[in-house]
Symmetry: C2
Subunit: 416 residues, 2 copies
């Protein structure tokens, strides 16, 4: 039930029903691909009416339940792909430890390829099928590529993934097993990204890139829609939603979902956003206060999913943070490692970028950005199985013992 | 709604309401821990009645929906742990490739710690809480240990895991992140197993070991219960259910669930079982024809979850295969690698032991054990993320290219 597309830069409006719609759906024709990212707007009155006829509570427990708020025809929905409606873990002991009213961990690792990105890729692949594409492409070594490869395999279409030739083998393994064609480009990540865009133009491949394809952000949005619906069972809207920030699409998408549910009256108030960046890679605080990106820094972080010095969607992220009375905190790799352990001890195995969000909560509690009586939902955006090397760093060592009871007894005493 | 416990060896019956119930729930007092494994029997009339009052279709979409068929008090159910009700992928293209009516992939990698074993551990930990244990233990390096560590973390109780000191670091990382106390025993796996049993007796720890604790098998059973319910949406009961066999509990548990649903009238016929073993580690075919285990062989397999020369639950597995008019096939590591790719190309990333079940289907189709017009459901028992080294072996190499369009074009041509 799309009403229009609006350029986040100049405010130009586009009709989804115009003849050149599939083209303009990428970026604003005036502002171009670097700045002119579009945003979907829906006819919320029509959505409301539709939900009265067919209540959400009776629908599929997947993100396809939000059909009216997705940029897809009804016939394009893929209820057979079980994406979203991920569980929330009410970490009561963790809340006590942190002195908070409530800490909710939303476990996005339970998606088909074990990350949040499945939301975007599933909607992207469904849209590619809708517009008749039989090949889809992206440049990434991470969760976006994996989720694209997974959903392309489910759909039976070709996935072309561009990675820098230095990409680590474990990251490529999953792509290759899903049957994607993986191009290891002799060059940097930026060259791989550039080549992917050129190849999409040249071959007519569908471009799965959140930075220029707003359809993908609509997929990410479903996490916000879900949170709004699910928190009713956990004391209502939390005071904060914590998300780590890489290129900016994820936090922007989640906020868009929350805001739509607020406009639709599903929730009666909005949470604040806690954006979390890695200390070495933190352009967003600057962008938030200066309205533009800083010069790219040279730092890095173990949390590869948020290791982004030039976030392509910084504007959407900044807009979301402003609208949400949000705050941004930065965390060190040591704090991320501690948060991997903290999350694990409460039953959720998080990859570094996911644990970063929880690390940010710890920092925000310590610095009284989050007050003692408040509640927070943390987006655990990917499974720790995605990055086992970091898990090894976080996990520490087992207790070496001789094979007798006395040794067990001693080890138990020493480790208690 | 437990009626009794029956020894699978001598048929002795035990009441669950006797004063010494928690003790006899382990093994038959006559036959001992090696042979006297117990089996739960339920009052199915009472279950039927209860399901009439409160229909399954309206319940939680997790394995806790089967409350009446679990050895737990109602107050011990943990609806807050989202275990089971894993998705079925209807792999239509794969069915065409194999010349079958239908191929369904049940993706158990979607459980909390990404394997089938979460079913057993969640029920085990819930039972430990019910009987007042605050510490639970097992000997394993694999999915059983991980799922135990995960659910112990969710429950807030202590998990003690015994592993041989040679256990690979990636397998330990997840356990340690979940906060388990991991004993690296200077000795063999058998010594670690033995020490774990002694420690359970000595310290009064709850023993999470499927081989002697029938509560765990009831957790595994829920996969069979679920299959019976879910297949209604996929053409009804398939002709075959394919499962790989390690120590025998998994296939026995699945069969028990299917048989109970048949007895309850939820399904009107039973599938046949296709048990799959690795070529190098295949005691079950011998046990099936001779009624006892062979001398342990010296072979091995890349599929570590089924690398079991002396299956402790062989009798339950053999009973299930006999009752199910089942067949057992053996697969090579090469066939397992091919099946990892085959499963991936249809959207499901499988660990070796899970892919082995699909490899077995391919073998069974080639040898006409499974006929062309038949349908099969394959239990994908764990995520490929669990064993990334095998995924790398299966995945192959990316296409190395220079950063220009001509190179992309050439690579596309050569790889099509």
């Amino acid at each position: 039930m799309i009403e229009k597309l609006v350029c986040v830069n100049c405010g130009a409006e586009y009709s989804p029903h115009s003849a050149d719609a599939p083209v303009v759906w990428m970026t604003c024709t005036t502002c171009g691909p670097a700045e002119g990212i579009l945003d979907f707007h829906y006819d919320l009155d029509a959505v409301s009416e539709s939900w009265l006829d067919s209540p959400l509570a009776k629908r599929e427990r997947s993100h396809w339940r939000y059909a009216e708020l997705l940029p897809l025809k009804e016939s394009s929905l893929r209820n057979d792909w079980q994406v979203g409606w991920t569980p929330i873990i009410d970490a009561e002991r963790l809340a006590m430890e942190l002195g908070l009213e409530r800490v909710l961990l939303k476990d996005e690792g339970r998606n088909p390829s074990a990350s949040f990105k499945d939301r975007a890729s599933s909607v992207g692949v469904a849209h590619a099928l809708e517009v008749g594409a039989n090949t889809i492409a992206c440049a990434s070594t991470g969760n976006a590529a994996t989720s694209l490869a997974c959903h392309s395999a489910l759909a039976g279409i070709e996935a072309n993934i561009f990675v820098p030739h230095t990409a680590p083998e474990p990251k490529l393994a999953q792509l290759l097993v899903f049957g994607a064609r993986v191009f290891a480009v002799e060059g940097s990540y930026d060259q791989a990204y550039q080549l992917c865009s050129e190849a999409c133009n040249h071959f007519g491949w569908y471009n799965r890139n959140c930075a220029i394809n707003p359809v993908l952000v609509e997929g990410k949005k479903t996490a916000g829609l879900e949170v709004a619906e699910q928190v009713a069972a956990y004391g209502g809207v939390p005071d904060w939603v914590a998300v780590s920030i890489g290129d900016g699409c994820t936090i922007a998408g989640i906020w868009k979902g929350l805001a739509e549910m607020h406009a639709l009256g599903v929730i009666d108030r909005l949470p604040r956003l806690l954006g979390v960046q890695a200390e070495g890679v933190a352009p967003i605080p600057y962008a938030l206060s200066h309205g533009k990106l800083p010069e790219p820094g040279s730092g890095s972080t173990m949390a590869d999913s948020i290791d982004v010095q030039v976030p392509r969607n910084w504007r959407k992220a900044v807009n979301a943070l402003s609208a949400a009375n949000g705050r941004v905190v930065c965390v060190s790799d040591e704090q991320i490692l501690a948060a991997i352990r903290l999350s694990g001890r409460h039953g959720v195995f998080a990859e570094p970028a996911a644990a970063a969000a929880l690390a940010g909560v710890v920092v925000a509690v310590d610095s009284r950005i989050i007050e003692p009586h408040e509640s927070v939902l943390v987006m655990i955006t990917g499974s720790g199985l995605k990055d086992i090397r970091s898990s090894i760093r976080a996990g520490g060592k087992p207790l070496s013992i001789k094979p007798d009871l006395a040794s067990v007894e001693m080890a138990v005493e020493n480790s208690s």
